[in-house]
Symmetry: C2
DNA sequence: GTTAATCCTACGTACAAACTAGGATTAAGC
DNA sequence: GCTTAATCCTAGTTTGTACGTAGGATTAAC
């Protein structure tokens, strides 16, 4: 139930790319991305490789090379980025929730995990990189952020 | 973003205790719990230790001993059980979301993680052990389960 | 040909996940 | 008090993941 450094870094790098996308300038180098968000350079390399293999970014090798989003920033969700580096969300013991098979008094537990995944998706699949850059989150997401309980620890 | 075996086992053991609570019989032994849900016996031992230290179950040592819920089954949420074994939910790089501090185009990323945690809570804190045993989940949770998209792997 | 960049593979270290082992401790029941 | 049945505690073990680092191969602009 925790978000890895790789996922966090991936989203942050993608946000920089999203912000630069509008300007239509040259591709952004890994050095620039690392500098902009203070990310460990070589680790970022691998994270960017995951994003590329997932088809979320295009890369240009050689001088004047770098990275660009492969899609419009409003067409890439935070969920897409996380899945690119972490794999499927809400795995239980390494299995997708729909693959689980409980017996006895636990039969309905599968439904709980399904609901957990669905609620994660409702936030992460509906929030695009453009939304995060602009600070204009979907209404139901912003509602969650504004609820005072949401900021309580515990 | 994944649920550990320990958390899964903890919930399943707690569900058995919840179901037996109504009967008011003797405490349930770890052997019985392991048998009922096919859980690795010695590993379960440690999981039960976490539940006890979290104050969710009471244990009785010695012959005729075993475990009982420390609270009513409708007063223990699935979130309580998960936190007892996994620690706080939705940690990012080991930090609670409210502790994060992003700069530049990532400033609003914190809100996304806060929303993620809030949406997890909306499911897991409102679903009690009694709810799961009876298969009567809170309305908004059941709604998530019934949405056809929720069962898509994607 | 030089320079600037991505790309690839391997390595390393530390920690967590998922157990297993063995005994110390407690308490019930004869 | 002894046996038995149970929790409790500490430590190991094995495997994988997290979080990086290192070094060079490859590509392309100029």
């Amino acid at each position: 139930m925790h978000i890895t450094a790789a996922a966090d870094y991936a989203v942050r790098a993608a946000l920089i790319l999203a912000a630069r996308e509008a300007e239509g300038g040259p591709p952004v180098t890994a050095d620039e991305l690392a500098e902009a968000q203070q990310l460990p350079r070589k680790f970022l390399d691998q994270v960017l490789g995951s994003l590329r293999r997932a088809g979320l970014v295009h890369s240009q090798r050689g001088a004047q090379g770098g990275y660009r989003l492969a899609l419009h920033a409003s067409d890439i969700s935070v969920a897409d980025v996380i899945r690119a580096v972490e794999g499927p969300m809400a795995h239980v013991r390494g299995l997708r929730p729909e693959m689980l098979d409980y017996e006895g008094e636990a039969v309905h537990l599968q439904s709980v995990w399904i609901a957990v995944r669905a609620s994660l998706r409702s936030v992460l699949e509906n929030t695009s990189l453009a939304d995060v850059v602009n600070g204009t989150l979907p209404k139901h997401v912003q509602k969650l952020v504004d609820a005072p309980d949401s900021w309580e620890q515990h």
